[in-house]
Amino acid sequence: MSDRRRVTFRWDLDKTYLNTEFDSLRGLVRIPFESAEDKVAAPGVAALIRGLRSAAELRRVEVRIRFVSGSPPQVGKAILGKLALDRVVHDGVTFKDQWGRIRRGKFRDLREQVGYKLTELLRDRRDEPPGTEEYLFGDDWESDPLIYSLYADVVSGEIDRRELAEILDELGVDPELRDVADVLAARVPKEQIVRRVFINLARATPPARFRPYGERLVPSFNYLQTAACLFDEGVLDEDGVAEVVAAMRSEGGYDSRRLVNSLRDIERRGHLSEAGAAVLVDRLAKNAALPQSRAGRSRWRDGWLRLRRRVFDGVARVAPRRADYLSLIPALADRMARLERAEEQA
C-alpha cells in the first residue's frame, strides 16, 4: 500500500449536485422521465469536482469521488449520463434500492434517509485504506447535516455503539438497518478523518441553525463559498477556484459583486481563514476572475476583519465539538413533518 495522502470526497446528488425540483408535484412527476440533458447541475459544482480531482492528481494525492444518492437505480442512467456530460470523473454512485424495499414490504424505508445513508457511508468507509481523509457534501433539504455529522462522530469514535443505537432508535430508523449500522460501526477503524461537512443551503436555512453541529459543518450558499473553504484546506488550488468562478459566471449569471459578497459572507461566518481569504482574493484578481478594486484593502475591509475576529472568536469557537444528537432529533422530526405536509399540499 502506498504512503501517499488519500482523500475521498463524498457527494449527495439531489439538491447538492443537481438542482432537482422535488418541491412541487410537477417536478416530482417529471424526474423519472428526465434525460441526462434535462438535468441541471448547481452552478460551479461540476467545475469544483473536476478541480478537486486535478488538484489532487497534481499533488500526487490518491483521490476518490463517490456519490451516494437517495434516488432509485431506475434514474441512474440519466444521472450517470449527466455526470459524463459534465466531465465529472467519479469512483461510483450508490443508488437507493427502492424496489427491493417495496418487495420486502418496507414502505416506511422509502422515505427514510438516515439509516440508508449512514449504513452506505459506513460500508464504503470499511473498504477505505486507513488514514483516508474525507470531505462530505450534502444539502439542507432533509437530514444530511445530521447523517454526515453522525457518521463523522461514529468513525472518529466520539459516539460508541450504544449511543449510536439509542440515536437511531430515537430517529425511528428501521431496526434491521440499525443493526447493520451497529455491525459496520464496530468494524471501521476509529480515526478523526472527516475534515469538513459542506451543506448546500438549497432552502436558504439560516446558518445559525447549524451551530449545534460544530465548526466541522460549513453551511454554504453557493459553490464559490465551498471552493474557497476547500482552497483554505489545501485540497483545491487557485486554478480550481478560478474555474468555479468562471463556471458560476457562465452557468449562473453571477457578476463580480455577487461573487465578492459571497466570499465576504463565508469569511464573516468564520469558515474561511483571514489569510486564506486574502490570498484567494489577491490571486483571483491577478487571474482577472474578480475585479482588482475588490482585491485591495478598503475601508470596509478593516471593519470586516475586525468583525470576523469579534464574531467568530466569540460565537463559532464556543460551538460544541460534538453535536448533542438526541436534543437535535425533535427539531429534525418537526422539520421533516413540515416538509411532508408541504409536499402533500403541493
Binding site: A204, P206, P207, N261, R264, D265, R268, W300, G303
Partner: protein, 326 residues
C-alpha cells in the same frame, strides 16, 4: 444593478427589523444592499434569518445611533461615523445609489443637504409621502403623493411650484401616470383663497407648462382621488399626513372595540372579512415604503422610527425602483 445603503441601526440601535427587511428583499429580488451599522450585531441577526449573501454586504459603523430627541447638529458633529452618516456618505461618494433610514429625521435631512447634490434647477428639496385614496378605475394607482411633509415649515410660492414639478416627475416615472394631475392644498377651491403665497403659487402653477394643474383642493377632497400629486408647505403636509394616520388607526380601533361589544358586529365583520382583508394593506401605514426625499441627485427614503421589517424592505424596493426608473 441598484445598490441601496440601509441604515440598520435606526434610532434604537436594534438592527433586527432592517436585517429582516433586507434579508427578505435579498431572497426575492436582484437588488444589491449594504447594511450599515454595528457589523457584529448585523452578522448575528443575519445568520438567524433566511437570506441571500450574494445580495448583501455589511459596512461597519458601530457608534451608538442618534435618538429621536437628539438635536441633530450637535449630535452629528459627534456621530460622523455613525450608521446614518456613513450610509449617506456611501451615496455621496458614489458607492451606493440610494439610502434608506429609519433614523433621526432632522439629522437625515441635514446630512442630505450637506453631502448630496441637488438636481440641476432645484433650489428646494421636499419630503414626499403617499396616502390611500378613492379610485374608480382599477388601473389607477390607489395611492396619491403629497409633498412637502417635513423638509420645510413654511415656504414661498416658487418652492411650492418646485414641489409640484418634483412630485409630477416622481409620479410620472415611478407610478407610471402619464399626465399626473397636480393640486394645491388650500382652505377653499377659489383661486384667491389662502393668502398671498398660495395665491401666487396658484398663479404660477396655472402657467407652468410641464404641470397638469387641477387647481386648489380642500382637506376633505384629499382622499377623493381628484389629484395624483398634492402640494403644500411642510407644516400643513405633516399635520395632514399624521391626521390621516390617526384617523385610520381610530377607525381600526373602533372596529375592534365594536367587535368586542356585540355578537352582531362580530358576525357582520366575519361576513365582510373576505372583502376587507385585501384592502387592509392600504390602510396599514406600517407596511408603506416610507417617504422619498425629492430634489437630490439620488432619492433617499425615510421610514418611521418604529418601521417594521416589511416597511423597511418595501423602502429598499422603492429606492431601487426609483434608481431604475428616474
Amino acid at each position: 444593478m441598484p445598490l441601496v445603503a440601509v441604515d440598520a441601526m435606526g434610532c434604537s440601535g436594534d438592527v433586527v427589523p432592517a436585517v429582516r427587511g433586507v434579508a427578505a428583499v435579498s431572497r426575492a429580488t436582484d437588488i444589491q444592499m449594504l447594511l450599515v451599522g454595528d457589523a457584529d450585531s448585523i452578522q448575528r441577526a443575519l445568520e438567524n434569518t433566511e437570506y441571500n449573501p450574494e445580495r448583501i454586504d455589511i459596512v461597519d459603523a458601530p457608534e451608538t445611533p442618534l435618538g429621536m430627541s437628539d438635536p441633530p447638529d450637535r449630535a452629528l458633529a459627534r456621530h460622523s461615523r455613525g450608521s446614518l452618516a456613513t450610509a449617506v456618505a456611501l451615496v455621496a461618494d458614489g458607492t451606493a445609489h440610494s439610502v434608506v433610514s429609519a433614523g433621526n429625521a432632522p439629522a437625515l435631512w441635514r446630512l442630505c443637504l450637506r453631502h448630496l447634490q441637488l438636481r440641476r434647477g432645484v433650489a428646494q428639496a421636499g419630503v414626499a409621502a403617499v396616502y390611500p385614496r378613492r379610485v374608480d378605475d382599477r388601473l389607477r394607482d390607489p395611492l396619491a403623493l403629497i409633498l412637502d411633509v417635513g423638509a420645510t415649515v413654511h415656504c414661498d410660492a416658487p418652492a411650492l411650484v418646485q414641489f409640484a414639478e418634483l412630485g409630477e416627475a416622481y409620479v410620472r416615472c415611478v407610478s407610471k401616470v402619464e399626465r399626473p394631475r397636480v393640486a394645491l392644498l388650500n382652505m377653499a377651491t377659489r383661486a384667491d383663497a389662502g393668502g398671498e403665497i398660495l395665491i401666487e403659487a396658484y398663479r404660477r402653477l396655472e402657467r407652468s407648462p410641464g404641470v397638469e394643474f387641477v387647481g386648489n383642493i380642500e382637506g376633505h377632497e384629499l382622499v377623493g382621488g381628484a389629484a395624483d400629486v398634492v402640494v403644500c408647505e411642510g407644516f400643513a403636509g405633516n399635520v395632514v399626513l399624521k391626521m390621516l394616520h390617526g384617523l385610520t388607526s381610530l377607525a381600526l380601533d373602533l372596529t375592534g372595540a365594536g367587535a368586542q361589544r356585540g355578537w352582531r358586529w362580530r358576525a357582520g365583520m366575519a361576513m365582510m372579512g373576505g372583502n376587507i382583508g385585501p384592502q387592509t394593506p392600504m390602510i396599514e401605514y406600517e407596511s408603506y415604503a416610507g417617504a422619498p426625499i425629492l430634489g437630490f441627485e439620488s432619492v433617499p427614503i425615510y421610514c418611521e422610527p418604529a418601521a417594521p421589517a416589511q416597511a423597511l424592505g418595501n423602502a429598499v424596493k422603492l429606492a431601487a425602483k426609483i434608481v431604475r426608473d428616474m
